[in-house]
Symmetry: C2
Subunit: 197 residues, 2 copies
């Protein structure tokens, strides 16, 4: 694969935090979101369907964030105004994340990177990857969880754009929903005391 280097994208490297979750706990979590082999197969299909639509998907998501002051605030620089370098840097990793979501094999490297992404949404690491001193020290947990809806709802029209049957689109969408919920669950870990996660 010929992926151009993406600044700050460190999946599979030693620069990534280690997830405290055991293999067994992770397996139970996958069971709980009902993620099965069919879903993995439909995520692969979604990967093919989305491959040449990534920029269009990001346009929708960035449009949603950009049109809501309470959301774009989190991409502010030290002056509290939207920082274009910050928005642009994250955007490239966000595009890669769509591909990774569809290609995920849920190994340790993937799991560790979920923990890393969680940390990047909290004061522990927010802004560090892009070298931005943001007025917003961390993403409030309530928006992280709430975002499961827009990130799930807005992908469906893109999944339907390549002529697949209604049943196939539905299956891709369900698999996407499970994966997003699993990921947000994992990203919430650094927000809470270890015993309550």
């Amino acid at each position: 694969m010929n992926t151009p280097a993406i600044p700050g994208y460190t999946l599979g490297t030693s620069n990534v935090a280690r997830s405290p979750l055991s293999d067994e706990e992770f397996a139970l979590l996958k069971q709980t979101v009902l993620l099965g082999e069919d879903d993995v197969r439909y995520l692969r299909l979604a990967g093919e369907v989305l491959d040449d639509q990534i920029e269009a998907v990001l346009d929708v998501w960035y449009g949603f964030v950009g049109s809501h002051p309470h959301l774009v605030y989190y991409f502010s620089g030290a002056d509290g105004k939207p920082n274009m370098d910050y928005l642009g840097g994250v955007r490239r990793r966000f595009g890669q994340w769509i591909r990774d979501t569809c290609a995920a094999n849920y190994d340790r490297a993937w799991l560790d990177y979920q923990y890393e992404i969680g940390l990047r949404h909290t004061s522990a690491k927010k802004g560090k990857t892009d070298g931005i001193a943001s007025a917003a020290q961390s993403i409030n947990l309530r928006y992280l969880i709430a975002f499961i809806v827009p990130i799930t709802a807005t992908i469906k029209p893109f999944l339907a754009k390549k002529g697949h049957s209604a049943a196939e689109v539905e299956a891709m969408h369900t698999a996407w929903f499970k994966s997003i919920t699993l990921q947000i669950t994992l990203w919430s870990e650094p927000y809470v005391a270890p015993s309550t996660f």
Copy 2:
């Protein structure tokens, strides 16, 4: 309406904790999960559709929890074994909650009760309502968030059972998904430091 009194169901009473969320923050959260008037309308329709299916829905959910030791554990008594009084007491409130989810008007009483339900999933209040000393002190946050999937996925066949068009079923299901995500978001509040929620 002739709702029989349900032990421990305290919505709208002075026995309920107060949500720390301001009206404005709550409005922004509803925006973020894309909850609009159409969704409220479709939740009302879902309420009619589910009205005589509540016990069947609960059978599916309790079946799911009961067949997974890592989940039924949370309903254990002091001896670590599933406590039937606990399971039964919660079940009655759970049935009412389905109705409340469909009938919600998102006022202060509703918002406060969401905070209360969140507390009941944490060590602050778990077991207190039913007078159970459970071996499980709190529901781990990871399962609370992960449960968005089973609680959303399993409702769909029930929504489809009363002869509504595919588009109507889809609209009811989307509204349900938004409401569940909104509620789990609100329930996560007592898990974290106020500044990070």
